[in-house]
Amino acid sequence: MTQSEQTTAPAAAQAGAPPSEEEPTGRLARLARLQALQIIIVLAVIVVIFSILKPSAFLTVFNIRGIVQNTAILAVLGVGMTFVIITGGIDLSIGSVLVFSGVVADKAMANIGNGQGWGVAIIGALVATGCGLAWGLLNGFLVARAKVPPLIVTLGTLGMALGLAEVFTGGVDLRNVPTVMVNTVGFGNIVGEIPWLAVIAAVVVVLGIVLLHRTRFGLHTYALGSNPEAGRRAGLKVSRHLIMVYAISGLLAGFGGWLNLAFFQSTTIGGQTSTNLSVIAGVVIGGTSLFGGYGSILGSVIGVFIPATLQNGFVIIGIQPFWQQVVVGVVLIAAVYVDQQRRAAALRGGSPRMSGLLGHLTTRREAAGAEAAAGGE
């Protein structure tokens, strides 16, 4: 198919078309934004509660900056995971790929000159993203061409990537990170009190939002998650698209490995076992459907902030931070419950627009209330 063929039939009358009286974006996008809005409200409620309980400690530049820094890498991983989950897949391997990429990048950087300076750091970034991309391509190939379920493929590569990282290092963390990289990307502020990590993560998030919500690639990602057979019959290159989606997730995990090196000055081999679950939980809390076809990156970013904010807040107000896991579990289940209700409403073919959405809002508020209760104990 060529472009000119594509544009022939129904598009003939595009010249001089008046600006549409309808909203230019689809209801899908509007719903997604609403969903994101709901989750923003949940986050806002959490922030307000902690702020009221301990304004002097919680609502400080230092503390907020800490939360943002702790969440930046998860947000980067969440962008890739959102793409994967919208196709109806899952990527369990990101934490291990992050470690593997960090290990290889660390070794590469240690072996260049004196292992210092921006040149070395940038080569490290390229090596790390390259490693991540390779793992992502492997995942995608196995899912799309070998037709192995993504849960199993990425469970397998989870073990392989972590195992190889341990083989390369003998299980001992490496710490060969250029000082300039640690002092800027890791801890530094780009301007004022705004950390480099946050800015880098924000750039990734914005690129992800543009790619998912504004381009044909993003549209096809939704289409494949919504009905793969429809995509195939419409002539989409389903396998190639899936491989690219997993490649994006792997690439961002590799890049996350480089950020992780900068932040921790260590390859954190033993410290990433639950990273995949944290990211998946954040993405799902953010309203992306595990069944595919539906979701937003903004929601995912807010979603990964909620566990981090709870953790931080509990420490500050003197509750055992272990409660965070309990509350996140409740929020996670509530989020999937809401998604199920929405799917059921859509299947009934009724108008989920009003009743459904009002239902979601009230459900969300109940969830927020539950958190408030938990937070106030």
Partner: protein, 258 residues
């Protein structure tokens, strides 16, 4: 009323099963051709071959009199043949415009287009035009297709096929999942598509629907065509008789047990 799509002596063998045993079939421009037959008569196999999702074991397919090989849905589309499936083949989370243009998006011109940005305004205009031409009652262009009624979904699917087809539309039991009113409007759509000069192939198990919408009826039995009727000149009894083998038509296509 020229023959736009023709199948000659098509066979399709799955292992020991002869799904098609020398089937002939013609589609004419501006004519609704109903394809009927009992379960297992080979209707769906024939449509799959014409729409490119299956390749025939032997036989010939001609488009505008020229022999062609249709070895994939995209090839069929390139010959101007579009298919509407019983199970819709729409993406429920996308809106009608996105479904209309799925796989054939209009890109922006210049660099932004090459980067993957779409011309949403053009696609919306094109979709509205396509729906208006068919009188399809799709009011909400930004709502997801999944939230629509079965009839509206099928209207989107038919309008999509009609907008892109240059020669033939194949409809494989398009009304099977629909209620009475929705079925009526889909049949009305089919007539409008025909009036625009496309060849329409309509597969259905419902004899009243076939009698209502078809101009010509071709009957299949045991993997081959056994009879062809003008809809105005036949009766339901005759059709059922041809389907079951009780009646044979004297037009050279005698049925034989193979």
């Amino acid at each position: 009323m020229s023959v736009v799509l023709e199948a000659r002596d098509i066979t399709k063998v799955y292992g020991h099963v002869h799904a098609l045993a020398g089937a002939d079939f013609e589609v004419k421009t501006g004519v609704v051709t109903a394809l009927i037959g009992d379960n297992g008569a080979g209707k769906s196999t024939l449509v799959k071959i014409l729409s490119g999702t299956e390749t025939p074991t032997s036989g010939e397919i001609l488009v505008d009199g020229q022999p062609v090989t249709i070895d994939g849905p995209l090839v069929a589309r390139r010959y101007g043949i579009e298919t509407v499936y019983q199970d819709l083949a729409l993406a429920p989370h996308l809106n009608p415009v996105q479904n209309m243009y799925l796989g054939r998006e209009v890109m922006r011109s210049g660099l932004t287009g090459r980067l993957g940005f779409m011309n949403n305004a053009a696609m919306r205009t094109g979709s509205r035009k396509a729906f208006d031409e068919l009188g399809a009652t799709v009011r909400n262009f930004s709502g997801s297709v999944g939230a629509m009624s079965g009839g509206q979904k099928q209207a989107v699917a038919v309008a999509r096929a009609a907008a892109w087809a240059k020669r033939v539309i194949l409809l494989d039991e398009p009304t099977a999942a629909l209620g009475v009113v929705q079925t009526k409007s889909v049949l009305e759509l089919i007539r409008r598509v025909r009036d625009r000069g496309l060849g329409v192939v309509f597969i259905s198990h419902s004899m009243p629907q076939v009698m209502e919408v078809a101009d010509e009826i071709q009957v299949m039995r045991l993997g081959r065509r056994v009879a062809t009727y003008k809809a105005k000149e036949t009766t339901m009894e005759e059709l059922v008789g041809a389907m079951t083998g009780a009646v044979t038509q004297d037009n050279g296509t005698r049925e034989t047990q193979s």
